[in-house]
Symmetry: C2
Subunit: 416 residues, 2 copies
């Protein structure tokens, strides 16, 4: 038996205890984790310094260094986040429906934990805590496999959580960290059938594709967001400009940021300069079709076919002038990643057709794509945004970390 | 582009039309299919005769020959089944919840089709029709890959359905049959990422394992049922005997039939002879532990460790005397396949603990495991019984062939 199989088995054993743990015990463990994180600040900061020193040595980019860095404020924010999860309603044990059948059987559907969840993620050490506590609250054991850049930080955080969980009376193996951070360890996790009920990869498109194509365990695909905003010809132009500016520029690195602007040809001349004036505030690079360049001039880079498929994750926006709603819908369903798509319009039928015909996790009328988020949707914290159709689609909160079982009360019924 | 990729692309195109098709159109197509099946009886029977002749030549077992055989009565039953699906409520387009957020966004969750569903199945040609119409009603295109034994029958049925669908005004590619019945064609389907949204294998344990381990597309695992009935010490012995007789003998070949009987040691001596008297009516072979054999005698075959893992699918039952509830739960969670599990008891706490601690799709108190079925659960027809935890667990009806999307109505909201 390999190390990772042993870890899978320990997690499964812990999950069987956690499966029937009451809300009070789980919340006590979460509160203990929050306090332990605050009390363990020194231990965490020392570990994080080791990671930071190695990362600087290896020449990590400043933006990534910043994501890796922990300080007092970030540790307090983590602890507060844990307390927020403790305050959320327990998603386990709800009977969603219960019905008496003609033969007298009382058949109900009850929410129960998934079991063991594995999470593969990259640089940010706060994911270690966020993911662990969401899984724990939903009654699942979690196997964490973080990036090697955050190795010492992730270990410090995990050890602190494990001690707190044990002291609260639950098995410490509810949370564990894979010690091997080689590429091979990802593949080992993909093959942990019999131990891992669901695997959630969080990271770049390359990681996610590798996981989806090679996993033998069930996977929930997250995160790739090639989102569009389409300005229909009846759009309020001020609203339209403010929405594309927000969708592109409020946080360009995240998955719900817009990557392509589609504009109806009837309003292109009036709208594009208005939008550009706002986008210029952040020096947004525009990559446009011929019609866009005819209106906005040569400063607009010519867009390639590839640009329309790209999640830039930066102050870059592809722009295309379209002939109307049909072309906009066809474009989005062809190039999009089924994450978040928006139309700006004052036309009722256009709005309803867009909502019906766009095949995506979240479809908006007259609002920014940036709202696709567990907190904004009122679900509380989230573990990621699913871009697949099975099990969960869109932001995944606690509810999406559970499954159901049928419970049946009889009085001797046999099937005829 | 290979044949199967072309088929995937055609199905995807059909699915995009079907996605927004109304209930009236879909039901008209279903009624047209029902009528076309009845009208096409001669065509179906001729094709089936070819399959039967080839099967007899190749020495197929009589039980399998019977599953392959079609006649007037079975064709009428198929057509009736299609009309029953037409009568079910459309699972698509329901808004499950809709809520106003503090910022004025109106956020709802709406049921939508999954897209393209692929189904890999074995001998019975009626699955061709059952699966196709369930997928169609839920707004999904379906790619069918049946066994080579039913090649001619499946083609006749598919051609009839395609004609009826086209005449009803929907794309005929909503339903298509893979023409290559080699093992390689299974592997081709497993790799149809970008075209297939969900793959459902229906068949033996070997097929299902192969699919789960090698699929790059999302899979819903179905069917393997190693089910238990546990007689707790307070059980009503007459009820207990009638339940194990029903669970084992009413239809031993199906996945919700019981394979192992667990008996509390306190009632073993009183109960086992009573159960055996009933099971003997079907000449059920018992494979028991030492304690069972001490009570029932040498006619009981000694049970091996392997027997407790086995889905016999026949008049064979493993029997084990256990020390009580804890051992019964541990046994089931170790050897079971998380399908359907039952306890017979008059003790309140034992019943509730069994419901809580058994990790299975359906958990019963005082009823036969044989009820795990879409019809019996009031869901209407089903496409299979999921034994995995993601997306769907237990019988899968129309609702389980849909996913959701978030629809958001705004009036200019941007994220701050």
């Amino acid at each position: 038996m390999t190390d990772i199989e042993r870890q899978g088995m320990s997690a499964k054993k812990a999950a069987s205890v956690l499966m029937t743990a009451g809300t009070t015990v789980k919340n006590a463990a979460l509160c203990a984790i929050a306090k332990a994180l605050e009390d363990g600040e020194q231990e965490i900061l020392e570990a994080n310094e080791k990671d930071m020193a190695l990362a600087k040595e290896s020449g990590m980019r400043p933006a990534l260094l910043d994501r890796l860095r922990l300080d007092s404020k970030r540790i307090r924010a983590m602890a507060d986040g844990v307390r927020e999860v403790a305050a959320l309603r327990d998603p386990v044990g709800r009977v969603l429906s219960m019905e008496k059948r003609p033969n007298g059987l009382l058949i109900g559907r009850k929410t129960v934990p998934l079991g063991v969840i594995a999470i593969i993620y990259e640089a940010r050490p706060n994911v270690t805590v966020d993911a662990a506590v969401l899984c724990l609250k939903a009654g699942n054991a979690v196997i964490l496999r973080g990036g090697k850049e955050a190795f010492y930080s992730n270990n410090a955080l995990t050890n602190i959580m494990r001690r707190a969980i044990r002291e609260a009376g639950l098995p410490e193996d509810c949370v564990s960290l894979v010690q091997d951070t080689s590429r091979q360890s990802v593949n080992d996790i993909l093959s942990l059938t019999g131990y891992v009920d669901v695997l959630i990869p969080r990271g770049g498109a390359g990681l996610i594709r590798h996981v989806v194509e090679n996993a033998k365990v069930p996977v929930i695909q997250t995160g790739v967001g090639n989102c569009h905003v389409y300005m229909e010809k009846t759009a309020d132009l001020d609203m339209a400009a403010s929405i594309i500016y927000n969708a592109k520029c409020s946080r360009p690195s995240v998955c719900n940021a817009a990557e392509t602007l589609l504009v109806d040809e009837d309003i292109a001349e009036a709208f594009l300069p208005k939008a550009k004036a706002l986008l210029d505030q952040k020096n947004t690079e525009l990559r446009g079709c011929d019609k866009t360049r005819a209106i906005l001039g040569e400063s607009v880079v010519p867009a390639t076919e590839e640009d329309y498929y790209t999640e830039f994750g930066d102050y870059i926006l592809a722009v295309k002038v379209v002939s109307g709603l049909d072309e906009a819908i066809a474009h989005i369903n062809k190039y999009g990643s089924s994450h978040s798509e928006a139309i700006v319009t004052e036309n009722y039928t256009a709005a309803q057709r867009f909502l019906d015909e766009i095949d995506a996790a979240a479809v908006y009328v007259n609002a920014s794509t940036r709202f696709t988020d567990g907190g904004e949707f009122g679900m509380g914290a989230e573990i990621g945004i699913s871009t697949q159709k099975m099990h969960a689609r869109g932001p995944m909160g606690l509810e999406q970390l559970t499954t159901t079982k049928f419970i049946i009360y009889g009085n001797g019924q046999v099937r005829v």
